[in-house]
């Protein structure tokens, strides 16, 4: 009887310790995110505005309804979805390419790995400023003319602002493909090598091995990469803002909401707008959990 109860008290103490250790993380997340999130949800149902004289009124779903009737919203939504889809697919494809390139040894692999790791390691907060400078140089620099010509030819084909948007896309892909490449490389390393060796015996065609073995085995890691890429693309406000210097011609949901809140003082619609992305991301997250979190193994 005694050992059982000893184990029982030990377990209870472990559970108490666990909650104690969990507390700082939860407290931190709650203190930073809970109130703002609650505020955003509440505000999306009200007419709150710093520019408005009267009292704030509860307007129910009006802010959401209003968005659906606004052609600007549909434009922003389309651009966001296209942007997220294009960047995510490009990042996953390039990242997978990088990972497969690095997985087998060759001379100088360590250096090439470092090169591929660089775009992510290079702090984006400043590289985005550098990209802006590179792509829209001050008039005095030696390459201003050629870069300007490039800008005008792109803009004349796709419409004004296309160059700026292209530069946002390129920047996002450049940095993201580096992160996903390293993530997938780690993923491939985590898969037992025997599985790839069996595959080599089973099929001579590298394409078949890639399609039937590599991709299915990498699925959880691809999903993780896709999820992180989608969240960054949907929330990509700072980069769009920076790289287009605030002259938004192709608004994404993020910049549209930011503009509504800061320039037009419409907190209600802006909150509604930013929350509209949540169901999409939650859907992606559920897929991720299904793929990644399945084996519930019995351990300690």
């Amino acid at each position: 009887m005694a050992p059982v109860s000893a184990r029982w008290t030990r377990r209870r103490r472990d559970v108490a310790t666990a909650y104690l250790l969990l507390a700082p993380a939860v407290l931190l997340l709650v203190s930073v995110l809970a109130y703002p999130l609650g505020w955003e949800v509440w505000t999306s149902f009200t007419s709150l505005s710093p520019l408005q004289a009267g009292a704030t009124a509860f307007v129910g779903l009006e802010n959401y309804r209003q968005q659906f009737e606004d052609p600007q919203f549909w434009r922003a939504a389309t651009v966001t979805v296209v942007y997220a889809a294009v960047t995510s697919v490009a990042k996953l494809a390039l990242g997978l390419g990088f990972a497969l390139l690095l997985v087998r040894p060759f001379r100088g692999r360590a250096l090439v790995f470092l090169a591929i790791f660089l775009p992510w390691a290079y702090p984006a907060s400043v590289s985005v400023i550098g990209w802006y400078w590179t792509l829209s140089p001050p008039i005095s620099t030696a390459y201003a003319v050629s870069m300007g010509n490039l800008k005008y030819s792109v803009d004349s084909i796709f419409g004004g602002g296309a160059w700026a948007f292209l530069s946002v896309t390129l920047f996002n892909i450049w940095r993201g493909s580096s992160f996903i490449g390293v993530l997938l490389l780690a993923g491939i390393n985590a898969i037992p090598a025997e599985l790839f060796e069996y595959a080599l015996l089973e099929s001579k065609s590298p394409w078949r091995r890639f399609r039937l073995v590599t991709v299915p085995l990498l699925k959880p890691f691809l999903a993780l990469g896709a999820f992180l890429s989608l969240t960054s693309a949907f929330a990509d406000l700072a980069n769009v803002w920076m790289l287009t210097a605030g002259r938004i011609v192709f608004p994404v949901i993020g910049t549209h909401a930011y503009w509504l809140a800061i320039n037009a003082g419409q907190y209600g619609p802006a909150s509604a707008l930013s929350l509209m992305l949540v169901p999409l991301l939650l859907g992606a997250l559920l897929v991720l959990f299904r793929l990644f979190d399945t084996p519930e193994r019995e351990t300690a």
Binding site: L21, P36, E40, F106, A115, A190, G254, A261, V278, A300
Partner: protein
């Protein structure tokens, strides 16, 4: 295995070359610009630097009243770059340390002690990534103001850890979860406490994963521009990204690019030193999933 035909080798080589150039070129370009004199910036070849100079870097540390460069002294402004450097150092080091400590504790609880509902705690923490950041800083400003942290580095030390924390907890807890229970058992039977077993056995074992979590949080903090610019207003309290964002770019382009490099080089060096560990740590954390 039979040897590869020459065209396959050539294809492999050129793919590697292409990938390397694609990844490194923008960084190389920024480095080259920062080493140029104003004359060369205007008349030289954009892709190379013939007379490299560190004067743009030196300029960042100069105070008011000094004349340098093409545009002339009247248009030059000076920036408290040393303050920015110090602030950045404090914020980055503090954030990485805080993120690691907090996520290590949470991950140990979730992966090792397994309280009831640990799986859901882990998912909920990770799910905070779906909260849209777009205009979150408006209410966040109220929180920061309420805590009296307006225009204070501590505001960033509070906000930044939450950005990398979910991924770090996820990664560390899956690593802890897949460690066999025998790892600690012997020590526990010998009468060691959970804490001793953790510090003596688990912590040393999990070094690669800790490195991965640390590098991830460094990369995440270093990528923020928005939060720093919103919450740090006065010039002396800013970090380098926030400060560079306020520079009069059309006039100080070369100094700005030098500032970019000055911030990037240490971060990149740290990442490069730990790059192998980063992959090893990610791998160790992911073995569980497959």
């Amino acid at each position: 295995m039979n040897p590869k035909p020459w065209w396959a080798k050539l294809g492999h080589r050129s793919l590697i070359l292409l990938a390397t150039v694609y990844c490194v070129f923008p960084i190389y370009f920024m480095l080259v610009q920062s080493l140029k004199t104003a004359q060369e910036d205007v008349f030289g070849n954009p892709l190379i630097v013939v007379h490299p100079t560190l004067e743009n870097f030196a300029e960042l540390f100069e105070r008011e009243g000094e004349v340098r460069g093409f545009v002339g002294s009247a248009l030059r402004r000076s920036y408290p770059f040393l303050d920015w450097l110090e602030n950045t150092l404090v914020v980055f080091a503090g954030t990485v340390a805080l993120t690691l400590a907090v996520s290590l504790a949470a991950a140990y609880a979730l992966g090792r002690l397994r309280p009831p509902g640990s799986r859901w705690w882990r998912r909920i923490i990770f799910a905070t990534y779906v909260i849209p950041q777009t205009i979150l800083f408006v209410p966040l400003y109220q929180v920061v103001n309420g805590l009296g942290l307006d225009d204070n580095l501590l505001a960033l030390l509070l906000i930044y850890p939450t950005t990398a924390l979910p991924f770090c907890v996820w990664m560390l807890s899956s690593y802890f979860q897949q460690l066999p229970r025998e790892v600690e058992e012997a020590a526990l039977i010998e009468g060691a406490s959970r804490a001793t077993a953790f510090f003596r056995i688990i912590l040393p074992m999990s070094r690669p994963v800790l490195v991965a979590a640390g590098i991830f949080s460094l990369g995440t903090v270093a990528s923020d521009f928005m939060i720093a610019s919103v919450f740090l207003l006065s010039a002396h309290n800013q970090t380098i990204p926030a400060g560079l964002g306020t520079m009069e770019v059309a006039l100080d382009e070369l100094a700005a690019v030098a500032g970019i490099n000055l911030m990037a080089i240490p971060v990149v060096l740290i990442c490069a030193v730990f790059a192998r560990g980063y992959v090893r740590g990610l791998t160790a954390a992911m073995v569980e999933g497959s």
